[in-house]
């Protein structure tokens, strides 16, 4: 102990925040690396740029937690993270707070057109570009091709058809009709919004007014509730399911339909109960309109506080290039955000659903683009969940949610 004290005090006095750095280091935060995908990208980049070191800080796998970590750091004007690897829904908040450098001048308009339109739209705030998309995501309908084919049924085009087919084929509890993400978290908002959009409704109209208490949204919520209590095609436990929980039910062969993100495709190949028996299609819609998927996806922004914005941009540019995205997608099993890659032979050979996905992505829609999205989502999560588990009636839940949203959006100086 007597020895320890002077050593530690020396450390304490010696640690200045800036610290001399040899060369340039570019840092960003993401979930722990999957299958060495980032390590591989970083290695390839550093080989071409020996003067720049890139460091992935491996954070928690919960995206909320990583959002908070970025926010506490950026709020302080901290130069720790040069790049902000962000979910599409963080962008308005981060851009409105002035934490990101605009990238319009750095990414030529011609090149912007190579990205999926929805991803790019979600990367803009008040007309300026703040993010380069890296990987994209959209909701898909997974179904048991073997079971549908056996009864000569086509995959459902409408939510009503999904109910009918599910009721015709299911045998709960061994085989449920439909599973989705029903836990009170961001995923529930996504599942709910996809139904609302498919019904022609929305949370906010084009003027930013709350229209959540309109009949379309109420019908959407009622459909979710009915799936559990009236049609009984969905197990009540869905109210505790996140992505992986719902995927597990499907992968164990215990569900006919599943709404999930593209990543589940790779898992079907590893699951003996469903291997080779699964196909993917777009989410159902109405008789007169196709279904609309929610857009997810991740991309790079450059922190306004970075000491090395040029080096940071150089890595972001490499990672999001056609080569960088393909390399990363092959290792991580995620979906690249460049249109052309969805038709790349090597990628399509591994992901035969890419042609369907490409169509879905062209019309996928971002969640409400608003600096207060985090609050909007929290309100939706609570009330949608309450209706899903039967604590309130759908119309009461959405009326309450709409009331809270109006209060929130009316608070002083809404950006």
């Amino acid at each position: 102990m007597a020895l320890l004290v002077p050593i530690l005090l020396a450390l304490l006095l010696g640690c200045s925040r800036a610290g001399p750095e040899r060369g340039i280091t570019v840092r960003f935060l993401d979930r722990p690396d999957r299958n060495q995908a980032w390590a591989d990208a970083i290695q390839a980049f550093q080989a071409a740029h020996p003067d720049i070191r890139v460091e992935l800080v491996e954070g928690p796998s919960a995206t909320n937690a990583r959002e908070d970590l970025y926010a506490t750091s950026l709020l302080a004007g901290d130069p720790i993270y040069d790049l902000v690897f962000m979910d599409i829904v963080w962008l308005p908040k981060f851009a409105a707070a002035g934490w990101l450098l605009p990238l319009d001048a750095r990414l030529a308009a011609g090149e912007q057109a190579d990205f999926l339109p929805g991803d790019l739209e979600g990367s803009r705030f008040r007309g300026r570009l703040y993010r380069v998309p890296m990987r994209t995501d959209a909701g898909l309908l997974f179904y048991r091709r073997d079971l549908l084919v056996a009864r000569a049924l086509a995959p459902p085009r409408t939510w009503e058809a999904l109910v009918e087919e599910a009721r015709a084929l299911q045998a709960p509890p061994e085989l449920w009709g439909y599973v989705f993400q029903g836990k009170q978290y961001e995923g529930l908002v996504v599942n709910f919004l996809e139904l609302v959009w498919s019904a022609g409704g929305d949370v906010l109209d084009s003027q930013g007014r709350v229209i959540l208490d309109q009949p379309e949204a109420i019908a959407a919520l009622r459909w979710l509730r009915d799936a559990i209590v009236r049609h009984r095609i969905t197990p009540p436990a869905v109210a505790t399911y996140e992505e992986q929980d719902s995927a597990n039910v499907f992968l164990q062969g215990r569900s006919l339909f599943l709404r999930n993100w593209p990543y589940v495709w790779a898992l079907t190949a590893e699951s003996p109960r469903v291997r080779g028996r699964v196909a993917i299609t777009a989410l159902p819609g109405r008789a007169d309109a196709v279904g609309i998927s929610a857009l997810g996806g991740w991309g790079f922004g450059v922190s306004r506080f970075s000491r090395h914005p040029e080096a940071a941009w150089a890595f972001a540019r490499y990672a999001t290039s056609a080569e960088g995205q393909k390399r990363y997608a092959l290792r991580a099993g995620t979906v690249p955000a460049r249109r052309a890659l969805l038709h790349d032979a090597e990628l399509v050979a591994r992901n035969p659903h890419y042609p369907v996905l490409a169509k879905v992505l062209e019309r996928a829609r971002p969640r409400p683009v608003h600096p207060k999205y985090a609050q909007i989502s929290d309100i939706l999560q609570h009330h949608v969940s309450a209706a899903l588990v039967g604590r309130t009636e759908p119309q009461d839940a959405l009326r309450a949610a709409a009331r809270e949203l109006r209060t929130l959006l009316a608070s002083p100086r809404t950006p």
């Binding site: 320890l4 004290v5 530690l8 450390l11 992986q244």
Partner: protein, 278 residues
């Protein structure tokens, strides 16, 4: 006679129950950490390790920054342990002996302040630390921890000083000691046990604190143990490295357990003696 024996056996059983209740969650971590990695994920879980192994402990130090987290925590704990004593001892002496004006008020107001949940302070302190450019500097934790611990230290030392016979000081004054000299050469050596108790409690506090450490240390290399461990996660929910985590839990809690068991008399006496007056 048998009635008394039954009563004694019953009493012993209740005491054993208390000890078991207090230790089992910790012991379960110990048992988990001693299992081989594949045994940890057995369903249903085995009670005792079938093939005891230290593999988890070897791996915990390969959890990339774990050692760094421990060093950070030690650094902050040492800094925090010394400061409240340095500030608290003279102040307590002033309150107890010199009847300094406002002393009692400071004591009470300080206790009220330190009682508040840290969430109350987190934003304003964050703003202040940001303005001073001290984010990701150990002082960002040492200073608030010192302030949060000062009132309890002050209170413990004041009640201890009051118990010391004042004749000692008077004799020392007659022998020509200055007041600072009295404090340094007479009072502090006598107060060593009380100081040690206060130091232990402060060290435990600073080793354990989470919220301020989470918010003021934004860089991974400056995280303290509790925050760093809370951030550990696998690529997916199903790959959480529980073997290493259980070993890490043991490594970070064992020092506290040993400290409390080793110094139990001092801690409990220090906290209960003198009476806690509301």
């Amino acid at each position: 006679m048998t009635g008394r024996r039954v009563r004694r056996a019953l009493f012993a059983a209740v005491v054993a129950l208390i000890v078991g209740h207090s230790l089992w969650p910790f012991l379960w971590q110990v048992l988990t950490s001693l299992k081989a990695p594949d045994e940890i994920f057995a369903i249903p879980p085995t009670l005792l390790p079938e093939r005891p192994s230290l593999a988890s402990y070897a791996k915990v130090f390969t959890l990339r920054p774990f050692v760094r987290y421990v060093l950070n925590s030690l650094l902050v704990a040492v800094g925090t342990t010394l400061l409240p004593l340095g500030l608290g001892a003279p102040a307590a002496y002033a309150v107890a002996r010199l009847r300094a004006r406002g002393g009692e008020l400071l004591l009470r107001a300080g206790l009220v302040g330190a009682l508040l949940p840290p969430i109350v302070f987190v934003l304003p302190l964050y703003e202040g630390i940001r303005a001073l450019g001290l984010l990701n500097h150990p002082l960002a934790l040492i200073v608030p921890y010192t302030a949060l611990n000062l009132p309890l230290t002050l209170w413990m030392l004041t009640s201890f000083f009051r118990q010391l016979p004042s004749e000692l000081e008077e004799a020392a004054r007659i022998d020509g000691f200055s007041r600072v000299g009295v404090l340094r050469h007479i009072i502090l050596p006598l107060a060593a046990p009380a100081l040690a108790t206060a130091a232990i409690l402060v060290a435990i506090f600073s080793w354990n604190e989470f919220l301020l450490a989470l918010t003021f240390m934004t860089a991974d290399q400056w995280r303290t143990v509790p925050v760093g461990m809370a951030m550990l996660s696998g690529v997916t929910e199903f790959e959480v490295p529980w073997d290493q985590i259980s070993a890490a839990v043991v490594v970070t809690t064992l020092p506290v357990v040993l400290l409390v068991l080793g110094l139990q008399r001092r801690i409990i006496a220090g906290l209960t003696a003198g009476g806690i007056k509301g």
